[in-house]
């Protein structure tokens, strides 16, 4: 019994155990460190198996010795509290420390020390490390796809312009704040659309179905100024009337030609690609899927049974099938459903497919927010004499959307992560370009570098988005 007491560290013999323990711990770490960084094996004289396990045993005994409660030494107490609470935790901590020390040298040498950065041919990549030259040479392809080199400024310019226009919300004064929703929901997407089609595509722009779209947008904008008493009848009659007027009295053509910018060459969507295509697709799907999802979320909670069934059917259908089959559908099945002379570009088809797919997820997220609102909010709004739309736009949706910011951010993250799937319809964004580049006979054997590069880019984008959504959540968190 006394023997066990002797081995039990406590405050009485603090110094002995502290020095002994930290020494053993230090030795074990040093052994692993020297082993992995300098390939020295201090315990080489021991049998293989023992030499392998020795640092773990030494470290474990060391940690056991310094596990002294309330020692009065601040750092020791912190150490004990955080990584050394009991035997099991001590072993796990040691394992993690060893894994980190062991894995650092190979990772460092692959990424930096043995890697080749210079030059622009495969010949410079002789070391055992990564060949970043490959990334450097192919950088433009990874960023812009097959877009002609001389024209790439158009993409850059459009993106800069769109980012600047998008950040208007930060600088808006209180006076203009109330128009921000209108700006972001209607005007900004329109500008973005025009930018992409006039500038990045550069071809003559035709508007198919243009009457319908114009009539809908016009009637929605005018609808803001119609007294709510007549709103129902207004929306019953005016859009249709506008459509008829536009189609039969103003324009007679099949489609409206918006013309093209002089001096810009047309670049067909098949040549778009790389990271810029990822951005374009995520941007448009994000813009489209949000209103569609909101409409279906409201539809699912509608008091009209038929609308409810249709919404449930829509949502459950899209949520039940994988995106890849949806894209298959848009690629091989959708053209069968359209009139023969009617052609929709494959990028547009992909965007429509992804938007509808993500809209179902957005709808479910928003429905969660709508359900989480207390009944009192609905009743209060109704008792003020608000109609359905007024109640939802001014009372319900602002609160519900605040509640579901994390969920919506997750859906958008999923959307960004789903964009590589467009390889199904033959579009190559960054992952697709990587797969193309790695089959190039001049640059065989650099799959790893390419994937690591793309992974880093996607990781930064997604991590930034999730952190941003977290901040947004904190910002809009109102006490309830």
């Amino acid at each position: 019994m006394s023997n066990i007491n002797f081995l039990k560290p406590d405050r009485a013999n603090l110094n002995t155990f502290l020095y002994l323990g930290s020494f053993l711990f230090f030795i074990s770490i040093l052994d692993v460190f020297l082993n992995s960084f300098f390939r020295l094996n201090l315990t080489g004289f021991l049998p293989n198996f023992l030499s392998f396990l020795l640092p773990l045993i030494l470290g474990f005994v060391g940690l056991y010795f310094i596990r002294i409660e309330y020692s009065g030494i601040k750092n020791l107490d912190l150490l004990n509290k955080h990584i050394n609470t009991n035997n099991f935790n001590a072993i796990l901590s040691l394992l993690i420390i060893f894994i980190i020390i062991k894995s650092l040298p190979p990772i460092l040498s692959w990424f930096v020390i043995d890697a080749s950065f210079a030059g622009d041919t495969k010949d410079v990549c002789t070391g055992s490390g990564a060949c970043w030259t490959y990334i450097k040479v192919w950088m433009r392809r990874f960023m812009y796809g097959m877009y002609p080199n001389a024209e790439q400024w158009r993409i850059n310019l459009s993106f800069v312009a769109l980012v600047l226009l998008g950040s208007v919300g930060y600088f808006a004064t209180d006076k203009f704040k109330k128009y921000l929703t209108l700006y972001y929901v209607v005007i900004y997407p329109l500008i973005a659309f025009l930018f992409i089609f006039f500038f990045i595509s550069g071809g003559p722009v035709f508007f198919d179905f243009s009457y319908g779209i114009i009539a809908a947008i016009l009637s929605i904008i005018i609808g803001f100024f119609i007294p709510s008493k007549f709103k129902f009848y207004y929306f019953l009659i005016v859009p249709l009337a506008l459509y008829v007027i536009l189609k039969y009295f103003l324009f007679f053509e099949e489609y409206i030609e918006l013309g093209k910018l002089d001096g810009l060459n047309w670049v067909e969507t098949g040549a778009w690609g790389g990271l810029s295509l990822t951005f374009i697709i995520s941007f448009f799907c994000l813009i489209f899927c949000f209103p569609i999802g909101m409409a279906f979320a409201l539809g699912r909670r509608s008091e009209f049974p038929l609308i409810r069934y249709i919404s449930v059917g829509f949502i459950e259908f899209w949520r039940g099938v994988p995106l890849i089959t949806v894209l298959f559908m848009s690629a091989v099945m959708f053209p069968m459903f359209l009139p023969e002379d009617f052609f929709i570009d494959k990028l547009v088809r992909a965007i429509i497919a992804i938007s509808l797919f993500e809209a179902a997820y957005v709808a479910e997220v928003i429905r969660g927010g709508l359900q989480a609102l207390p009944r009192g909010q609905y009743e209060a709004a109704k008792s003020l004499g608000m109609g359905y739309w007024k109640m939802h736009i001014f009372v319900i949706l602002p609160q519900a959307l605040k509640l579901v910011i994390p969920g919506i951010a997750n859906t958008f993250l999923a959307l960004v992560k789903d964009t590589p799937l467009i390889f199904v319809v033959g579009l190559l964004e960054i992952v697709g370009m990587l797969n193309l580049a790695k089959t190039n006979p001049k640059w065989l054997g650099f799959a790893m570098e390419g994937y690591v590069f793309a992974a880093i880019i996607f990781w930064i984008i997604c991590y930034a988005m999730s952190k941003y959504s977290y901040n947004l959540e904190q910002k809009y968190k109102t006490d309830r």
């Binding site: 509290k81 955080h82 990584i83 609470t85 935790n89 796990l92 901590s93 993690i96 420390i97 129902f232 019953l236 009209f304 049974p305 038929l306 609308i307 249709i310 259908f317 949520r319 039940g320 099938v321 994988p322 995106l323 890849i324 089959t325 298959f328 559908m329 091989v332 099945m333 053209p335 069968m336 459903f337 359209l338 009139p339 023969e340 993250l413 960004v416 992560k417 789903d418 964009t419 590589p420 799937l421 390889f423 199904v424 992952v431 990587l434 797969n435 790695k438 799959a447 790893m448 994937y451 690591v452 793309a454 992974a455 996607f458 990781w459 997604c462 991590y463 999730s466």
Partner: protein, 383 residues
């Protein structure tokens, strides 16, 4: 009258719009198919498929029907999903609990894992494992054996095959053990409710599940032998392993990336669930004298499971649907075999894509029904 009109008109307009859109689509589809000389019908399912699939769980070759090809794809999809769900659940639970560990290093390690794998697109991860990581494995002739029987090579993982004699007796013994455990549990519960005595159910269960199958070996004449894969030379530089079970690299890459990716989401669900149980519950349970194990088993887990299960169901569904990414690395799943090869050969776009979508819908709905049933079973019985 006015009131009624307001009720009916929006519904009518919506239904009309939906009907119009569908009518437009079917009308166009009919015209298009007439023009191209394709006729609509599912008769092709019984025709001879005349294409081969590299990996199938049931016997299949080109002389079988398209329906058989569909079954091959479906079974492969289910195989990947089931393996992925099992691994992802185990990993997710471990990581989720690790994220709540008081140990700083474990905590941060788990957080790093979650943040790392969930922020990289799944397709990229699949490509990474398949084209980069698994391609770095040795050729069959250079592979070193793990434990003498497993061979991990560039052509896949070779594991020994089990060869059973009288397998049905072994199977019945396991069934018997499971039934016995259920009976004993029910009995133990009754005894505890009536007399307050505790029967060590867990130990008895473990004993039963080992002893009964063991008895089947000793008495029932069950024999188990292993067929270890053996290296065989096909040509001067071409080697292959024969015997045993071979798992193709596509399957390994797919299950690995699916489970690593989904485990991060399950880990977050588990963490949220355990954190969702109030601290007071734990303290109250401890203060009435329950042991830490009992606290976890009887107080924390039943409450946490209620929070964990609905989002985890979603993750299972996602995993099943994401398994369709197999098409990208040519693992013969439903999408590749049926919506890929079979579609190319027959040109029956509408039929095949609709069957594929309907299959996934059925899979999703059956998983969610199963999990809803389980969720209902453990839900709070409100009075």
């Amino acid at each position: 009258m006015n009131f009624k009109l307001k009720d009916i008109v929006p519904q009518l307009i919506t239904v009309l719009a939906v009907v119009l859109v569908f009518g437009f689509f079917t009308y166009n589809a009919q015209i298009n198919m007439e023009n191209r000389g394709i006729d609509f019908g599912y008769g092709f399912l019984s025709q001879e498929s005349s294409f081969d699939v590299q990996f199938s769980l049931i016997e299949y070759d080109g002389s079988h029907s398209y329906f058989r090809a569909y079954l091959v794809g479906l079974l492969n999809t289910i195989l990947v999903s089931v393996i992925g769900i099992i691994i992802a659940t185990i990993l997710g639970v471990i990581v989720g609990i690790a994220r709540l560990s008081p140990n700083y290093l474990i905590n941060k390690f788990a957080a790093f894992y979650v943040e790392f794998f969930r922020n990289i697109p799944l397709l990229l991860q699949i490509f990474f494992w398949y084209f980069a990581a698994l391609r770095a494995l040795p050729l069959p002739q250079d592979a070193e054996a793990m434990f003498g029987v497993f061979f991990l090579t560039i052509k896949g993982l070779y594991v020994p095959a089990f060869i059973w004699q009288n397998f049905n007796i072994f199977f019945y013994s396991i069934i018997a053990a499971i039934i016995a455990i259920i009976v004993i549990r029910a009995h133990a519960k009754k005894v505890q409710e009536n007399q307050g005595k505790q029967i060590p159910v867990f130990l008895i269960s473990i004993g039963l599940i080992f002893i009964l199958p063991l008895l089947s070996f000793l008495i029932g004449g069950v024999r188990l032998s292993f067929e270890v894969p053996v290296l065989k030379q096909l040509a001067t530089t071409s080697f292959i392993y024969e015997g045993g079970v071979s798992l193709p690299p596509e399957l390994i890459a797919l299950t690995l990336s699916l489970s690593l990716y989904t485990a991060t989401f399950i880990a977050e669900c588990v963490r949220a669930g355990i954190q969702g149980v109030g601290k007071g519950q734990k303290e109250a349970a401890a203060s009435i004298g329950l042991t830490p194990n009992q606290v976890l088993k009887l107080v924390i887990m039943p409450q946490a499971l209620r929070i964990i299960i609905p989002p985890t169901t979603n993750q299972y569904l996602n995993l099943t649907k994401n398994s369709s990414l197999a098409a990208a690395i040519a693992y013969p799943d439903l999408v590749l075999v049926f919506a890929g090869t079979a579609l190319m050969q027959t040109g029956k776009a509408i039929e095949i894509v609709s069957i594929t979508m309907f299959t996934y819908l059925t899979l999703s709905i059956s998983i969610s029904i199963l999990m809803n049933w389980y969720n209902k079973k453990i839900a709070i019985q409100e009075k």
